[in-house]
Symmetry: C2
Subunit: 111 residues, 2 copies
DNA sequence: TAAGCATATAAATACATATTAATATGATTG
DNA sequence: CAATCATATTAATATGTATTTATATGCTTA
């Protein structure tokens, strides 16, 4: 049934610690690009590699990070490994981050 | 009028890059504690130091990081330097991160 | 101006992480 | 089983960063 072992090392105790852990996963531009790319639906690693023009090991590395923080789900089908976003709120948060960052910059730059 | 120079090095071009930059600022538990502590209102550095039981240089370091990402505003009054949260959406995003992280963990742990 | 408090910075250390190049694993098909 | 394709891992490197200790800066007041 195409199960994939997913060693998540997300901290369990403090909720602030887990929030920080998730934020760290969102703190790399390439990971954000991968998440946005997965927004269009489940994709294989090679699909992501092509679409984003990143090297395959780099994409694998970032996907591993996204797995660690539970932001993506994995499913193996044949020789392909498909990734998908684990929760829709992830992209809402990403959108909120983008808006916020844009406004903070605008407020700073305006004068 | 108590202006404080605030060297923000937030990237200006790509909106994804700025989102990642803000996320990085949210990716440290001590910085999140500082933000939550500032939620109760404007506070001096020494106030934060006392409330969180962190060393003064460490708090100063993290406040500098929060300034760089424009998440806090600074105001000097006499010998004190007061910090406050720059935008209310910051705490909304933080709350959303906490909820998300908790649910992701719960979904993973439930079985 | 000297002393004292509040804050920032510097230096040192330890550790994490992004990226690349090379190689290994794992599944499929001839 | 050999070859091939998809993905993961390893090693190496460079860079970033959290923390501590020590010191500097800056404001205020005696």
């Amino acid at each position: 049934m195409a199960q994939v072992k997913s060693e998540s090392i997300m901290p369990r105790e403090d909720s602030l610690q887990t929030a920080a852990f998730v934020a760290k996963s969102l703190s790399d531009e390439n990971r954000l690009r991968i998440l946005l790319c997965l927004n269009q639906g489940k994709k294989s690693v090679s699909g992501i590699v092509e679409e984003l023009s990143l090297s395959q090991p780099l994409v694998s590395h970032h996907l591993k990070e996204l797995r660690r923080s539970l932001l993506v789900r994995v499913e193996r089908r044949g020789p392909f490994v498909y990734y998908e976003i684990a929760d829709d709120r992830i992209l809402q948060i990403l959108a909120a981050l983008k808006d916020l960052a844009a406004d903070l910059l605008a407020a700073r730059t305006t004068f």
